[in-house]
Symmetry: C2
Subunit: 283 residues, 2 copies
Protein backbone atom coordinates (compact mmCIF):
# COMPACT_ATOMS: atom_id res chain seq x y z
CA UNK A 1 0.00 0.00 0.00
CA UNK A 2 1.54 3.27 -1.06
CA UNK A 3 1.63 6.55 0.87
CA UNK A 4 3.15 10.01 0.43
CA UNK A 5 6.16 10.89 2.54
CA UNK A 6 6.53 14.53 3.60
CA UNK A 7 10.07 15.90 3.83
CA UNK A 8 9.97 19.31 5.51
CA UNK A 9 12.18 22.05 4.04
CA UNK A 10 11.11 24.48 6.75
CA UNK A 11 8.11 24.74 9.05
CA UNK A 12 6.02 25.95 6.12
CA UNK A 13 7.12 24.02 3.06
CA UNK A 14 7.93 20.43 2.16
CA UNK A 15 8.79 18.04 -0.62
CA UNK A 16 6.33 15.17 -0.76
CA UNK A 17 6.69 12.02 -2.81
CA UNK A 18 4.97 8.71 -3.27
CA UNK A 19 6.40 5.73 -1.39
CA UNK A 20 5.40 2.37 -2.81
CA UNK A 21 7.23 0.20 -0.31
CA UNK A 22 9.07 0.51 2.98
CA UNK A 23 12.11 -1.67 2.48
CA UNK A 24 13.66 -1.10 5.90
CA UNK A 25 12.71 0.69 9.09
CA UNK A 26 14.98 0.46 12.08
CA UNK A 27 15.85 2.52 15.14
CA UNK A 28 19.57 3.05 15.77
CA UNK A 29 20.95 4.53 19.00
CA UNK A 30 20.95 7.90 17.18
CA UNK A 31 18.02 8.03 14.80
CA UNK A 32 15.31 6.24 12.85
CA UNK A 33 16.78 4.83 9.64
CA UNK A 34 14.44 4.00 6.78
CA UNK A 35 14.86 2.95 3.17
CA UNK A 36 11.79 3.38 0.99
CA UNK A 37 11.05 2.65 -2.65
CA UNK A 38 9.72 5.61 -4.68
CA UNK A 39 8.66 5.96 -8.32
CA UNK A 40 10.19 9.45 -8.53
CA UNK A 41 13.65 8.82 -7.10
CA UNK A 42 14.18 5.08 -6.79
CA UNK A 43 15.35 3.96 -3.36
CA UNK A 44 15.47 6.75 -0.77
CA UNK A 45 17.32 6.81 2.56
CA UNK A 46 15.54 8.70 5.35
CA UNK A 47 17.03 9.60 8.72
CA UNK A 48 14.41 10.64 11.28
CA UNK A 49 12.13 11.20 8.29
CA UNK A 50 14.53 13.58 6.51
CA UNK A 51 15.60 12.70 3.00
CA UNK A 52 19.35 11.98 2.93
CA UNK A 53 19.99 10.19 -0.32
CA UNK A 54 18.12 9.05 -3.39
CA UNK A 55 19.25 6.45 -5.86
CA UNK A 56 18.42 8.60 -8.91
CA UNK A 57 20.03 11.88 -7.98
CA UNK A 58 22.63 11.21 -5.28
CA UNK A 59 25.20 11.92 -7.99
CA UNK A 60 24.49 15.65 -7.94
CA UNK A 61 25.25 16.07 -4.25
CA UNK A 62 28.15 13.65 -3.96
CA UNK A 63 29.97 14.74 -7.10
CA UNK A 64 29.66 18.37 -6.09
CA UNK A 65 30.85 17.82 -2.53
CA UNK A 66 33.89 15.86 -3.67
CA UNK A 67 35.26 16.81 -7.09
CA UNK A 68 35.72 20.61 -6.81
CA UNK A 69 38.02 20.16 -3.80
CA UNK A 70 39.81 17.06 -5.07
CA UNK A 71 40.70 18.75 -8.37
CA UNK A 72 41.69 22.00 -6.63
CA UNK A 73 44.29 20.21 -4.49
CA UNK A 74 47.45 19.32 -6.41
CA UNK A 75 48.07 15.97 -4.65
CA UNK A 76 45.05 14.85 -2.57
CA UNK A 77 46.50 11.72 -1.02
CA UNK A 78 45.16 11.58 2.55
CA UNK A 79 41.46 12.31 2.82
CA UNK A 80 39.17 12.59 5.84
CA UNK A 81 35.41 12.34 5.40
CA UNK A 82 33.25 13.41 8.34
CA UNK A 83 29.80 11.85 8.11
CA UNK A 84 28.82 10.28 4.81
CA UNK A 85 28.04 6.82 6.21
CA UNK A 86 26.17 5.94 3.01
CA UNK A 87 29.59 5.97 1.26
CA UNK A 88 28.42 8.11 -1.68
CA UNK A 89 31.13 10.66 -0.93
CA UNK A 90 33.70 7.92 -0.37
CA UNK A 91 32.87 6.41 -3.76
CA UNK A 92 33.67 9.70 -5.52
CA UNK A 93 36.84 10.30 -3.50
CA UNK A 94 38.15 6.91 -4.62
CA UNK A 95 37.67 7.88 -8.28
CA UNK A 96 40.77 10.05 -7.81
CA UNK A 97 43.82 7.96 -8.53
CA UNK A 98 46.19 9.93 -6.34
CA UNK A 99 44.31 8.94 -3.17
CA UNK A 100 46.38 6.75 -0.86
CA UNK A 101 44.27 6.75 2.30
CA UNK A 102 40.69 7.70 3.18
CA UNK A 103 39.38 7.80 6.72
CA UNK A 104 35.61 7.99 6.98
CA UNK A 105 34.26 8.95 10.41
CA UNK A 106 30.54 8.26 10.76
CA UNK A 107 28.64 8.57 14.02
CA UNK A 108 26.05 5.91 13.28
CA UNK A 109 27.35 2.50 12.15
CA UNK A 110 23.82 1.37 11.35
CA UNK A 111 23.58 3.96 8.56
CA UNK A 112 26.43 2.20 6.80
CA UNK A 113 25.01 -1.26 7.54
CA UNK A 114 21.62 -0.34 6.10
CA UNK A 115 23.22 1.41 3.13
CA UNK A 116 25.31 -1.69 2.43
CA UNK A 117 22.11 -3.65 1.99
CA UNK A 118 20.21 -1.12 -0.15
CA UNK A 119 22.88 0.99 -1.85
CA UNK A 120 25.62 -1.60 -2.48
CA UNK A 121 26.80 0.41 -5.51
CA UNK A 122 27.96 3.06 -3.01
CA UNK A 123 29.07 1.01 -0.02
CA UNK A 124 31.18 -1.39 -2.10
CA UNK A 125 33.77 1.38 -2.11
CA UNK A 126 34.33 0.71 1.61
CA UNK A 127 36.06 -2.56 0.62
CA UNK A 128 38.85 -0.63 -1.05
CA UNK A 129 42.11 -1.31 0.86
CA UNK A 130 42.82 2.43 1.05
CA UNK A 131 39.70 2.94 3.22
CA UNK A 132 39.38 2.99 7.00
CA UNK A 133 35.90 3.31 8.51
CA UNK A 134 35.69 4.68 12.05
CA UNK A 135 32.36 4.81 13.81
CA UNK A 136 32.54 7.66 16.29
CA UNK A 137 31.68 11.33 16.73
CA UNK A 138 33.40 13.34 13.98
CA UNK A 139 33.78 16.41 16.16
CA UNK A 140 35.64 14.45 18.84
CA UNK A 141 37.67 12.57 16.23
CA UNK A 142 38.97 15.78 14.68
CA UNK A 143 39.61 17.32 18.09
CA UNK A 144 41.79 14.42 19.23
CA UNK A 145 43.36 13.56 15.89
CA UNK A 146 47.14 13.54 15.57
CA UNK A 147 47.28 12.61 11.88
CA UNK A 148 47.44 15.17 9.10
CA UNK A 149 45.19 15.28 6.03
CA UNK A 150 45.33 16.90 2.61
CA UNK A 151 41.55 17.21 2.33
CA UNK A 152 38.66 17.14 4.80
CA UNK A 153 35.13 16.75 3.41
CA UNK A 154 32.20 17.33 5.75
CA UNK A 155 29.20 15.33 4.58
CA UNK A 156 26.86 16.12 7.45
CA UNK A 157 23.16 16.01 8.15
CA UNK A 158 21.25 19.24 8.83
CA UNK A 159 22.62 21.56 11.54
CA UNK A 160 20.37 20.33 14.31
CA UNK A 161 21.22 17.75 16.96
CA UNK A 162 24.56 15.94 16.65
CA UNK A 163 25.54 17.68 13.39
CA UNK A 164 25.20 21.22 14.73
CA UNK A 165 28.81 21.37 15.92
CA UNK A 166 30.01 20.59 12.39
CA UNK A 167 28.95 24.11 11.39
CA UNK A 168 30.80 25.88 14.25
CA UNK A 169 34.16 27.60 14.69
CA UNK A 170 35.73 25.14 17.20
CA UNK A 171 35.28 22.31 14.69
CA UNK A 172 36.73 24.44 11.87
CA UNK A 173 39.71 25.28 14.11
CA UNK A 174 40.34 21.60 14.76
CA UNK A 175 40.06 20.88 11.03
CA UNK A 176 42.55 23.65 10.30
CA UNK A 177 45.05 22.12 12.69
CA UNK A 178 44.93 18.63 11.23
CA UNK A 179 45.14 19.84 7.64
CA UNK A 180 48.54 19.88 5.97
CA UNK A 181 49.90 23.33 5.20
CA UNK A 182 48.30 23.20 1.74
CA UNK A 183 45.13 21.46 2.91
CA UNK A 184 41.50 22.12 1.95
CA UNK A 185 38.30 21.81 3.98
CA UNK A 186 34.95 21.61 2.18
CA UNK A 187 31.55 21.32 3.77
CA UNK A 188 27.99 21.01 2.61
CA UNK A 189 26.24 24.04 4.01
CA UNK A 190 22.54 23.82 3.35
CA UNK A 191 20.17 25.82 1.14
CA UNK A 192 20.49 29.54 0.58
CA UNK A 193 16.79 29.65 -0.42
CA UNK A 194 15.66 29.00 3.17
CA UNK A 195 15.63 32.30 5.11
CA UNK A 196 16.09 30.53 8.45
CA UNK A 197 19.49 29.25 7.23
CA UNK A 198 20.92 32.58 6.04
CA UNK A 199 22.49 33.48 9.37
CA UNK A 200 24.22 30.10 9.68
CA UNK A 201 25.62 30.30 6.15
CA UNK A 202 26.87 33.82 6.72
CA UNK A 203 28.48 32.88 10.04
CA UNK A 204 30.22 29.83 8.55
CA UNK A 205 31.69 32.12 5.91
CA UNK A 206 33.01 34.52 8.56
CA UNK A 207 34.38 31.70 10.73
CA UNK A 208 36.19 30.04 7.82
CA UNK A 209 37.64 33.38 6.73
CA UNK A 210 39.00 33.94 10.22
CA UNK A 211 41.12 30.80 9.73
CA UNK A 212 41.80 30.22 6.03
CA UNK A 213 43.25 32.67 3.50
CA UNK A 214 40.99 31.45 0.69
CA UNK A 215 37.29 30.79 1.26
CA UNK A 216 34.84 30.37 -1.58
CA UNK A 217 31.25 29.18 -1.82
CA UNK A 218 29.67 27.34 -4.72
CA UNK A 219 26.26 25.92 -5.53
CA UNK A 220 24.66 22.87 -7.08
CA UNK A 221 21.08 22.16 -8.09
CA UNK A 222 19.97 19.16 -6.04
CA UNK A 223 16.32 18.46 -6.65
CA UNK A 224 15.51 16.50 -3.52
CA UNK A 225 17.30 18.76 -1.04
CA UNK A 226 15.65 21.77 0.55
CA UNK A 227 14.42 24.19 -2.12
CA UNK A 228 16.58 22.57 -4.81
CA UNK A 229 19.68 24.76 -4.47
CA UNK A 230 22.57 23.68 -2.32
CA UNK A 231 25.58 25.57 -1.02
CA UNK A 232 29.08 24.26 -0.37
CA UNK A 233 31.82 26.22 1.38
CA UNK A 234 35.43 25.52 0.51
CA UNK A 235 38.28 26.78 2.70
CA UNK A 236 41.80 26.44 1.38
CA UNK A 237 45.22 27.13 2.88
CA UNK A 238 46.94 27.51 -0.47
CA UNK A 239 45.20 26.34 -3.63
CA UNK A 240 42.71 28.55 -5.47
CA UNK A 241 39.71 26.57 -6.79
CA UNK A 242 39.44 29.02 -9.69
CA UNK A 243 43.01 28.51 -10.88
CA UNK A 244 43.19 28.19 -14.67
CA UNK A 245 45.10 24.92 -14.77
CA UNK A 246 42.31 22.92 -13.11
CA UNK A 247 40.21 22.62 -16.28
CA UNK A 248 42.86 20.59 -18.09
CA UNK A 249 43.42 18.35 -15.05
CA UNK A 250 39.69 17.55 -14.98
CA UNK A 251 39.62 16.76 -18.69
CA UNK A 252 42.67 14.52 -18.39
CA UNK A 253 41.23 12.59 -15.45
CA UNK A 254 38.15 11.83 -17.56
CA UNK A 255 36.03 10.74 -14.57
CA UNK A 256 32.60 9.33 -15.20
CA UNK A 257 30.26 12.05 -13.89
CA UNK A 258 26.63 13.02 -14.38
CA UNK A 259 26.70 16.51 -12.87
CA UNK A 260 30.26 17.85 -12.52
CA UNK A 261 32.41 18.74 -15.50
CA UNK A 262 35.45 20.85 -16.32
CA UNK A 263 33.45 23.98 -17.16
CA UNK A 264 31.04 23.57 -14.26
CA UNK A 265 34.01 23.46 -11.88
CA UNK A 266 34.26 27.21 -12.48
CA UNK A 267 30.58 27.87 -13.20
CA UNK A 268 29.46 26.55 -9.81
CA UNK A 269 31.36 29.35 -8.05
CA UNK A 270 29.37 32.02 -9.91
CA UNK A 271 26.56 32.79 -7.49
CA UNK A 272 23.15 34.40 -7.85
CA UNK A 273 23.08 37.89 -6.36
CA UNK A 274 20.96 36.93 -3.35
CA UNK A 275 23.46 34.21 -2.39
CA UNK A 276 26.34 36.68 -2.56
CA UNK A 277 24.27 38.93 -0.31
CA UNK A 278 23.80 36.18 2.29
CA UNK A 279 27.56 35.63 2.24
CA UNK A 280 28.25 39.38 2.41
CA UNK A 281 30.48 38.94 -0.61
CA UNK A 282 30.81 41.45 -3.44
CA UNK A 283 29.56 40.32 -6.86
Amino acid sequence: MSYWHIDYQSKYQALTFEVTEVLKSIQSPYQKIEVVETPAYGKVLLLDGDLMLTEKDEFAYHEMLVHPTMFTHSHPQKILIIGGGDCGTLTRVLQHKMVEKVVLVELDEMVTQVSQEYFPQLVSSAQDPRVELIFTDGIKYVHNCTDKYDVILVDSTDPIGPAEGLFRLPFFQDCYHILEEDGILCLQSESPWIPELAELISQVNLDLKSLFPLVKAYVAAIQTYQAGLWLFQLASKKYNPLSNDIESKIKEADLKTKYYNSKLHYGAFILPTFVNEILNEPL
Copy 2:
Protein backbone atom coordinates in the same frame (compact mmCIF):
# COMPACT_ATOMS: atom_id res chain seq x y z
CA MET B 1 -8.07 28.08 8.82
CA SER B 2 -4.84 27.02 7.21
CA TYR B 3 -4.26 24.05 4.92
CA TRP B 4 -1.36 22.65 2.87
CA HIS B 5 -1.49 23.12 -0.89
CA ILE B 6 0.04 20.36 -3.04
CA ASP B 7 1.76 21.45 -6.25
CA TYR B 8 2.57 18.37 -8.33
CA GLN B 9 5.97 18.24 -10.06
CA SER B 10 5.13 14.93 -11.66
CA LYS B 11 2.70 12.13 -10.89
CA TYR B 12 4.97 11.00 -8.07
CA GLN B 13 6.39 14.11 -6.42
CA ALA B 14 5.09 17.48 -5.27
CA LEU B 15 5.95 20.66 -3.46
CA THR B 16 3.58 21.28 -0.59
CA PHE B 17 3.29 24.46 1.44
CA GLU B 18 1.10 25.95 4.11
CA VAL B 19 -1.66 28.30 2.98
CA THR B 20 -2.94 30.58 5.72
CA GLU B 21 -5.59 32.40 3.65
CA VAL B 22 -7.26 32.14 0.27
CA LEU B 23 -7.30 35.74 -0.92
CA LYS B 24 -9.02 35.09 -4.25
CA SER B 25 -10.56 32.15 -6.04
CA ILE B 26 -12.24 32.66 -9.36
CA GLN B 27 -12.97 30.66 -12.50
CA SER B 28 -12.00 32.33 -15.78
CA PRO B 29 -13.07 30.99 -19.19
CA TYR B 30 -9.69 29.22 -19.30
CA GLN B 31 -8.72 28.17 -15.79
CA LYS B 32 -9.20 28.47 -12.06
CA ILE B 33 -7.26 31.48 -10.78
CA GLU B 34 -6.33 31.62 -7.09
CA VAL B 35 -4.19 33.87 -4.94
CA VAL B 36 -3.23 32.45 -1.56
CA GLU B 37 -1.22 33.77 1.37
CA THR B 38 1.67 31.54 2.51
CA PRO B 39 4.28 31.89 5.29
CA ALA B 40 6.99 30.39 3.07
CA TYR B 41 6.57 32.45 -0.09
CA GLY B 42 4.24 35.37 0.64
CA LYS B 43 1.38 35.67 -1.85
CA VAL B 44 1.21 32.87 -4.40
CA LEU B 45 -0.65 32.80 -7.73
CA LEU B 46 -2.09 29.42 -8.68
CA LEU B 47 -3.59 28.52 -12.07
CA ASP B 48 -5.63 25.31 -12.00
CA GLY B 49 -3.77 24.54 -8.76
CA ASP B 50 -0.30 24.92 -10.32
CA LEU B 51 2.08 27.40 -8.73
CA MET B 52 2.82 30.21 -11.19
CA LEU B 53 4.31 32.99 -9.17
CA THR B 54 5.33 33.73 -5.61
CA GLU B 55 5.92 37.14 -4.11
CA LYS B 56 9.20 36.14 -2.46
CA ASP B 57 10.98 34.44 -5.32
CA GLU B 58 9.38 35.56 -8.58
CA PHE B 59 12.58 37.56 -9.13
CA ALA B 60 14.58 34.43 -9.92
CA TYR B 61 12.35 33.32 -12.79
CA HIS B 62 11.54 36.71 -14.25
CA GLU B 63 15.08 38.12 -14.13
CA MET B 64 16.44 34.99 -15.74
CA LEU B 65 13.82 34.88 -18.51
CA VAL B 66 14.39 38.53 -19.41
CA HIS B 67 17.90 39.86 -18.76
CA PRO B 68 20.12 37.31 -20.56
CA THR B 69 18.33 38.01 -23.86
CA MET B 70 17.93 41.74 -23.36
CA PHE B 71 21.64 42.20 -22.69
CA THR B 72 22.63 39.88 -25.54
CA HIS B 73 20.75 42.01 -28.08
CA SER B 74 22.57 45.22 -28.99
CA HIS B 75 19.41 47.37 -29.30
CA PRO B 76 16.31 45.63 -27.90
CA GLN B 77 13.69 48.23 -28.82
CA LYS B 78 10.59 46.29 -29.85
CA ILE B 79 9.72 43.42 -27.53
CA LEU B 80 6.98 40.80 -27.71
CA ILE B 81 6.02 38.85 -24.60
CA ILE B 82 3.86 35.77 -25.11
CA GLY B 83 2.02 34.90 -21.89
CA GLY B 84 3.23 36.55 -18.71
CA GLY B 85 -0.13 38.08 -17.76
CA ASP B 86 1.13 38.66 -14.22
CA CYS B 87 3.46 41.30 -15.71
CA GLY B 88 6.58 40.09 -13.86
CA THR B 89 8.38 39.64 -17.18
CA LEU B 90 7.08 42.98 -18.45
CA THR B 91 8.42 44.72 -15.33
CA ARG B 92 11.95 43.44 -16.02
CA VAL B 93 11.79 44.24 -19.75
CA LEU B 94 10.95 47.86 -18.91
CA GLN B 95 14.09 48.12 -16.75
CA HIS B 96 15.98 48.28 -20.07
CA LYS B 97 16.16 51.89 -21.18
CA MET B 98 16.44 51.15 -24.87
CA VAL B 99 12.96 49.63 -24.98
CA GLU B 100 10.52 51.66 -27.10
CA LYS B 101 7.57 49.30 -27.39
CA VAL B 102 6.44 46.15 -25.59
CA VAL B 103 3.47 44.08 -26.74
CA LEU B 104 2.28 41.55 -24.17
CA VAL B 105 -0.06 38.87 -25.51
CA GLU B 106 -1.86 37.00 -22.76
CA LEU B 107 -4.66 34.50 -23.34
CA ASP B 108 -6.51 35.10 -20.11
CA GLU B 109 -7.35 38.70 -19.22
CA MET B 110 -8.50 37.65 -15.77
CA VAL B 111 -4.94 36.60 -14.85
CA THR B 112 -3.86 40.21 -15.33
CA GLN B 113 -6.91 41.57 -13.51
CA VAL B 114 -6.33 39.33 -10.49
CA SER B 115 -2.58 40.08 -10.54
CA GLN B 116 -3.33 43.80 -10.60
CA GLU B 117 -5.17 43.41 -7.31
CA TYR B 118 -2.62 41.17 -5.53
CA PHE B 119 0.73 41.86 -7.25
CA PRO B 120 0.43 45.60 -7.99
CA GLN B 121 4.23 45.92 -7.78
CA LEU B 122 4.37 43.88 -11.00
CA VAL B 123 1.25 44.99 -12.86
CA SER B 124 1.94 48.70 -12.38
CA SER B 125 4.42 48.29 -15.24
CA ALA B 126 1.44 47.84 -17.58
CA GLN B 127 0.69 51.56 -17.15
CA ASP B 128 3.93 52.46 -18.92
CA PRO B 129 3.07 54.28 -22.19
CA ARG B 130 5.42 51.95 -24.11
CA VAL B 131 3.22 48.94 -23.25
CA GLU B 132 0.37 47.41 -25.24
CA LEU B 133 -1.59 44.55 -23.66
CA ILE B 134 -3.44 42.25 -26.04
CA PHE B 135 -5.67 39.52 -24.65
CA THR B 136 -5.71 36.74 -27.22
CA ASP B 137 -4.07 33.43 -28.12
CA GLY B 138 -0.31 33.99 -28.49
CA ILE B 139 0.07 31.26 -31.09
CA LYS B 140 -2.54 32.88 -33.34
CA TYR B 141 -1.15 36.35 -32.68
CA VAL B 142 2.32 35.37 -33.81
CA HIS B 143 0.94 33.48 -36.83
CA ASN B 144 -0.99 36.50 -38.08
CA CYS B 145 1.41 39.21 -36.99
CA THR B 146 2.78 41.64 -39.58
CA ASP B 147 4.97 43.65 -37.19
CA LYS B 148 8.63 42.88 -36.58
CA TYR B 149 10.28 42.47 -33.19
CA ASP B 150 13.82 42.56 -31.84
CA VAL B 151 13.08 40.15 -29.01
CA ILE B 152 10.37 37.59 -28.29
CA LEU B 153 10.08 36.21 -24.75
CA VAL B 154 7.83 33.20 -24.18
CA ASP B 155 6.56 33.23 -20.59
CA SER B 156 4.24 30.27 -20.82
CA THR B 157 2.55 27.84 -18.48
CA ASP B 158 3.44 24.13 -18.59
CA PRO B 159 3.26 22.35 -21.98
CA ILE B 160 -0.20 20.92 -21.50
CA GLY B 161 -3.47 22.38 -22.79
CA PRO B 162 -3.36 25.82 -24.44
CA ALA B 163 0.40 26.30 -23.85
CA GLU B 164 1.46 23.10 -25.62
CA GLY B 165 1.75 24.78 -29.01
CA LEU B 166 4.26 27.27 -27.55
CA PHE B 167 6.81 24.44 -27.41
CA ARG B 168 6.32 23.32 -31.03
CA LEU B 169 8.06 23.98 -34.37
CA PRO B 170 5.19 25.83 -36.14
CA PHE B 171 5.17 28.45 -33.37
CA PHE B 172 8.98 28.78 -33.52
CA GLN B 173 8.74 29.23 -37.31
CA ASP B 174 6.22 32.02 -36.89
CA CYS B 175 8.45 33.64 -34.26
CA TYR B 176 11.41 33.41 -36.60
CA HIS B 177 9.46 35.22 -39.34
CA ILE B 178 8.39 38.15 -37.18
CA LEU B 179 11.84 38.63 -35.65
CA GLU B 180 14.12 41.24 -37.18
CA GLU B 181 17.19 39.86 -38.93
CA ASP B 182 19.15 40.17 -35.69
CA GLY B 183 16.29 39.08 -33.44
CA ILE B 184 16.32 36.72 -30.46
CA LEU B 185 13.68 34.31 -29.18
CA CYS B 186 13.88 33.04 -25.61
CA LEU B 187 11.53 30.63 -23.91
CA GLN B 188 11.14 29.10 -20.51
CA SER B 189 11.41 25.38 -21.07
CA GLU B 190 10.68 23.51 -17.88
CA SER B 191 12.79 21.40 -15.54
CA PRO B 192 15.56 19.11 -16.74
CA TRP B 193 15.24 17.14 -13.47
CA ILE B 194 11.86 15.70 -14.50
CA PRO B 195 12.44 12.64 -16.75
CA GLU B 196 9.04 13.05 -18.43
CA LEU B 197 10.17 16.43 -19.79
CA ALA B 198 13.49 15.33 -21.29
CA GLU B 199 12.05 14.50 -24.70
CA LEU B 200 10.28 17.85 -24.98
CA ILE B 201 13.43 19.79 -24.03
CA SER B 202 15.52 17.82 -26.48
CA GLN B 203 12.99 18.34 -29.30
CA VAL B 204 12.75 22.09 -28.64
CA ASN B 205 16.54 22.25 -28.98
CA LEU B 206 16.42 20.43 -32.33
CA ASP B 207 13.53 22.53 -33.63
CA LEU B 208 15.20 25.81 -32.70
CA LYS B 209 18.47 24.67 -34.29
CA SER B 210 16.65 23.90 -37.53
CA LEU B 211 15.74 27.60 -37.71
CA PHE B 212 18.32 29.72 -35.85
CA PRO B 213 22.12 29.72 -36.28
CA LEU B 214 22.77 30.16 -32.55
CA VAL B 215 20.84 28.19 -29.94
CA LYS B 216 21.95 27.99 -26.33
CA ALA B 217 20.32 26.75 -23.15
CA TYR B 218 20.86 28.10 -19.67
CA VAL B 219 19.57 27.32 -16.20
CA ALA B 220 18.39 29.06 -13.05
CA ALA B 221 17.63 27.75 -9.57
CA ILE B 222 13.96 28.51 -8.91
CA GLN B 223 12.91 27.00 -5.63
CA THR B 224 9.16 26.87 -6.20
CA TYR B 225 9.25 25.47 -9.71
CA GLN B 226 9.42 21.76 -10.47
CA ALA B 227 12.47 20.20 -8.84
CA GLY B 228 14.10 23.60 -8.32
CA LEU B 229 16.13 23.78 -11.55
CA TRP B 230 14.76 25.57 -14.55
CA LEU B 231 15.84 25.61 -18.19
CA PHE B 232 15.61 28.45 -20.68
CA GLN B 233 16.32 28.12 -24.40
CA LEU B 234 17.64 31.11 -26.31
CA ALA B 235 17.63 31.18 -30.11
CA SER B 236 19.45 33.99 -31.82
CA LYS B 237 19.79 35.08 -35.45
CA LYS B 238 23.01 37.02 -34.91
CA TYR B 239 24.11 37.87 -31.36
CA ASN B 240 26.05 35.41 -29.23
CA PRO B 241 24.92 35.47 -25.58
CA LEU B 242 28.47 34.54 -24.54
CA SER B 243 30.10 37.46 -26.31
CA ASN B 244 32.75 39.12 -24.12
CA ASP B 245 31.40 42.64 -24.33
CA ILE B 246 28.14 41.82 -22.54
CA GLU B 247 29.67 41.85 -19.05
CA SER B 248 30.56 45.53 -19.25
CA LYS B 249 27.12 46.42 -20.66
CA ILE B 250 25.48 44.72 -17.68
CA LYS B 251 27.71 46.52 -15.19
CA GLU B 252 27.04 49.87 -16.84
CA ALA B 253 23.28 49.37 -16.84
CA ASP B 254 23.45 48.76 -13.07
CA LEU B 255 19.95 47.24 -12.89
CA LYS B 256 18.51 46.39 -9.50
CA THR B 257 18.50 42.56 -9.48
CA LYS B 258 18.37 39.83 -6.86
CA TYR B 259 19.40 36.85 -8.99
CA TYR B 260 21.02 37.93 -12.27
CA ASN B 261 24.41 39.63 -12.42
CA SER B 262 27.19 40.23 -14.91
CA LYS B 263 29.11 37.06 -14.03
CA LEU B 264 26.01 34.91 -13.79
CA HIS B 265 25.09 35.96 -17.33
CA TYR B 266 27.89 33.62 -18.46
CA GLY B 267 27.69 31.18 -15.56
CA ALA B 268 24.06 30.29 -16.27
CA PHE B 269 25.05 28.82 -19.64
CA ILE B 270 27.44 26.35 -18.00
CA LEU B 271 25.29 23.26 -17.62
CA PRO B 272 25.50 20.15 -15.46
CA THR B 273 26.50 17.11 -17.47
CA PHE B 274 23.07 15.46 -17.33
CA VAL B 275 21.46 18.60 -18.80
CA ASN B 276 23.94 18.63 -21.67
CA GLU B 277 23.04 15.00 -22.24
CA ILE B 278 19.31 15.79 -22.46
CA LEU B 279 20.13 18.49 -25.01
CA ASN B 280 22.49 16.17 -26.91
CA GLU B 281 25.13 18.87 -26.65
CA PRO B 282 28.84 18.24 -26.11
CA LEU B 283 30.31 19.46 -22.82
